[in-house]
């Protein structure tokens, strides 16, 4: 009744090409952005309980948004272009260490330029490791990207100049300053990653609606047919790898500089790759909002499993809670994939679909 396409008449081509065409969608996204950018910091300043203090920003919102950004990068490659990649963690690592090297060797460079250079470095590496995709598909490509993950793991540990010859292998990020604004407090760091996440999501959403995105989806659906109708697979697949790795590198630089501040190579190991892959699969392959939903699911679930018994004052020893988390995690992933293999994004789409028909059931 309230939410429908009918009744929206466009008199400009511009309106017809908008991402959000239904007025309620546009209002909704504007409210969400205002809540995220304005309301949350105000609630923190006012000291309202979950928003007061550092915990929500340091441990929940900032990592969640960075992982969502990384998931967007991986989703472009896996969900839209259909190239399975198990090297996402390593590409994040490339971005992180590239940003570190830029900050060490070119200390005067602005922070945002550092992040962009980190993304570019990661794009270059991603391009190189994307070359096998021109010859192999599916599981074999997964193995080739797994090789990228292990190779880069080794490189971060053994190649001295990457960590600036640090004796322990652990490196620290410099203080964050953007045009005189010292990004120190947890709320400021949250706003920084929120801004970057929104920009990346906007860019990715527009990219997949355009020519390049359609090429990727054609290759995903049937690459031989795509080649026959004139899509050049080398260009498409390599741009997919490059752009995906750029976003992953950017996210990796954010993860290292904003979230961890001091990290070791293990932060970008195969576990990180699996985590990103699960975010993308649970959230929904081939959807931008799915990245945010999947990141929220994967990041918040362990905290919820440990937090709910505590909130209900049921005493559970710490290690039992950790094992319970793994069990609940696995079970929920299984349940989600059985009932909705297309992920949380599909559940969201179905809810919107039902809302369009409301109050009629079909």
């Amino acid at each position: 009744m309230f939410y429908r396409e009918a009744g929206h008449f466009h008199d400009k081509y511009r309106d017809e090409m908008a991402i959000f065409q239904i007025r309620e969608d546009r209002i909704g996204i504007r409210l969400l952005l205002i809540a995220a950018f304005v309301a949350v910091p105000l609630l923190h300043a006012a000291g309202v309980p979950p928003f007061a203090g550092d915990y929500l920003f340091n441990a929940v919102l900032t990592p969640l948004l960075i992982l969502a950004t990384a998931a967007i990068g991986l989703n472009l490659l896996v969900g839209y272009c259909g190239q399975i990649s198990l090297g996402a963690g390593a590409f994040m690592g490339v971005g992180a260490y590239a940003a570190y090297n830029v900050s060490v060797h070119l200390p005067g460079l602005p922070l945002l330029a550092t992040f962009l250079l980190a993304g570019a470095a990661s794009a270059a590496v991603g391009l190189v490791f994307g070359i096998p995709s021109l010859r192999i598909k599916g599981l074999y490509l997964a193995v080739a990207t797994l090789a990228a993950q292990f190779f880069l793991d080794w490189a971060f540990l053994r190649v001295g100049w990457i960590t600036n010859y640090s004796t322990s292998g652990s490196v620290t990020a410099p203080p964050l300053v953007i045009a005189g604004w010292h990004v120190d407090s947890p709320v400021e760091r949250y706003l920084l990653v929120l801004a970057i996440a929104v920009l990346v999501a906007l860019g990715a959403a527009n990219l997949v609606r355009g020519n390049l995105g359609r090429q990727w989806m054609a290759i995903r659906d049937m690459d031989i047919a795509a080649e026959i109708i004139g899509i050049r697979p080398m260009q498409s697949k390599l741009t997919a790898f490059a752009i995906s790795s750029f976003i992953l590198g950017l996210a990796g630089a954010l993860w290292a500089f904003v979230n961890l501040r001091s990290w070791e190579p293990y932060a970008f190991s195969i576990d990180r790759s699996f985590q990103l892959l699960f975010i993308v699969i649970i959230g929904g392959l081939g959807s931008i909002i799915g990245c945010f939903l999947g990141a929220a699911f994967i990041w918040l679930l362990p905290l919820a499993v440990e937090g709910i018994p505590r909130w209900l004052s049921i005493p559970i020893p710490a290690d039992a809670a950790a094992n319970l988390t793994l069990g609940v995690f696995g079970a929920l992933i299984l349940v989600t994939l059985i009932f909705e293999p297309h992920g949380l994004a599909r559940i969201w789409a179905i809810m919107k679909h039902k809302l369009r028909r409301w109050p009629f059931p079909y």
């Binding site: 203090g53 550092d54 915990y55 340091n58 441990a59 990592p63 540990l157 053994r158 004796t167 322990s168 292998g169 652990s170 620290t172 203080p175 979230n259 961890l260 501040r261 001091s262 990290w263 070791e264 293990y266 932060a267 905290l303 440990e306 909130w311 209900l312 004052s313 020893p317 710490a318 290690d319 809670a321 950790a322 094992n323």
Partner: protein, 441 residues
């Protein structure tokens, strides 16, 4: 027609909400978070270590009624040895309790590196007894880090001193071959600068052999060792890497008597899984070894007999359990020292930091506490956050650890300039102005 399922679910929701959500009222006491790992690949070592800490806190509460009457409120948080989970635990627990966390003992060098950035901002001291950054011994730069009773550089120096003694003196080290088999991670790489400096000084050949995390794959490393035929293998491992190394050494017939693990490679979980193959294996001691002291009798009487505590009288004399107790004891005594200045009430992190920095335990005090013979007298100061620089060697005979050496003291003349250099570099990188220790009271 009313939907019975809807009715049922509404009833259930109402019942859940009506549950007395016991508001965990702020109990009055000193809050101390315990970042432990009881799951994951390092759990066999993490469990007794964490048990030592919490059982000692429980002992203080039961036997003494707290620290000078202020009860210890402790809460464990599972980190799984992962840096990001450790940071999440720290963020969640740092402000709990009436005055926030007294101190944090991360039980992991990786987490220590991450928390070293956050601790000065949140003003919470880090106690990293026996691990952490070696350069954090310099308190003028690392105001909030306390690598009490031992750092990795101390361990590396003592290891070489022991090996030298085995061959009849430091001059006999010339031309010898020593291998460092290390876990390829920040803590494993820590001793390398000291060992390289010592190799240059005494002219022995040092070979560095890394083992990829978690350390179950060591066949190629031990084949390399067999080809090399070194005089000693110094092992810097943690967790499952240690028993694997011992078994691989047995496979290539490398005598276990020529293996010297550092103090995190010298506990029961490292040798018991290897069975008879571990007999003869030597390890450094973080001053204390296995075995009972008077404090264990107190534990039996006040904790285990009452059915409290996480461990039991048999396991409580293990190496890692003792390590947990020693670390907890040093933290508690640090708080007590601070209470002497600030009063017998829950203290803030800043006040506890002052207390730890002015901690001094002599032989008599250690005897009073029940830790006689376990650690040497310790005195912390602004310039020395380690307090004492001694260690001993123990050997596994198949059933228990036997101390086979006297006390060694690390060679400060060599370590001091290296320390100053490393701390200075960190200070420059972070833009920290080192405190002037001569001016501090």
């Amino acid at each position: 027609m009313k939907n019975p399922t809807a009715k049922l679910s509404m009833l259930l929701a109402a019942a859940l909400l009506a549950l007395p959500v016991a508001a965990r009222g702020e109990e009055n006491g000193q809050f101390i978070p315990v970042l432990s790992y009881r799951t994951g690949p390092f759990a066999p070592n993490g469990i007794p270590w964490a048990n030592g800490i919490v059982d000692y806190f429980e002992l203080i509460n039961q036997r003494d009624g707290g620290i000078n009457g202020v009860k210890i409120i402790y809460e464990e948080c599972e980190t799984g040895y992962a840096t990001d989970r450790g940071v999440e635990c720290y963020e969640r627990l740092k402000n709990k309790g009436p005055t926030g966390a007294a101190f944090v003992n991360p039980l992991s060098t990786g987490i220590t590196f991450a928390l070293t950035e956050k601790a000065p901002v949140d003003k919470i001291p880090l106690i990293t007894a026996g691990f952490g950054r070696s350069e954090s011994k310099d308190g003028s730069v690392f105001t909030w880090n306390f690598p009490l009773i031992g750092t990795y550089w101390t361990a590396a120096d003592v290891a070489v001193q022991y090996i030298a003694k085995e061959f009849g003196g430091a001059d006999k080290l010339k031309g010898r071959k020593i291998v460092l088999l290390y876990h390829d991670s920040p803590f494993g790489k820590e001793p390398i600068p000291v060992l390289e400096a010592l190799a240059k000084k005494y002219d022995f050949q040092l070979t560095l052999i890394p083992v990829a995390n978690p350390g179950v794959e060591q066949k190629s490393q031990w084949l390399q060792i067999r080809q090399l035929r070194p005089d000693y293998v110094v092992m810097w491992g943690w967790g499952v890497m240690n028993p694997t190394a011992i078994q691989e050494a047995a496979n290539v017939n490398f005598p276990r008597e020529k293996m010297l693990g550092f103090w995190f490679a010298g506990a029961e979980p490292d040798v018991v899984p290897a069975g008879a193959q571990a007999v003869g294996y030597k390890a450094l001691m973080l001053q204390h070894g296995a075995g009972r002291a008077r404090v264990h009798d107190d534990l039996d009487k006040y904790v285990y007999d009452k059915g409290l505590g996480k461990s039991n009288p048999t396991d409580s004399s293990g190496v890692l359990f003792n390590r947990g107790m020693v670390g907890a004891m040093l933290g508690v005594e640090g708080i007590r020292t601070a209470m002497a200045k600030f009063g017998n009430k829950p203290l803030t992190g800043e006040q506890v930091r002052w207390g730890i920095e002015h901690l001094a335990l002599d032989e008599n005090r250690l005897k009073e506490l029940g830790f006689e013979g376990m650690i040497s007298p310790i005195k912390i100061s602004c310039s020395d956050h380690e307090g004492t620089h001694t260690s001993r060697i123990q050997q596994w005979d198949g059933k228990q650890w036997k101390v086979i050496s006297d006390w060694y003291t690390a060679d400060e003349t060599m370590l001091a300039p290296m320390l100053k250099d490393a701390a200075g570099r960190y200070a420059k990188e972070k833009g920290i102005t080192p405190r002037d220790c001569s001016k501090e009271s």
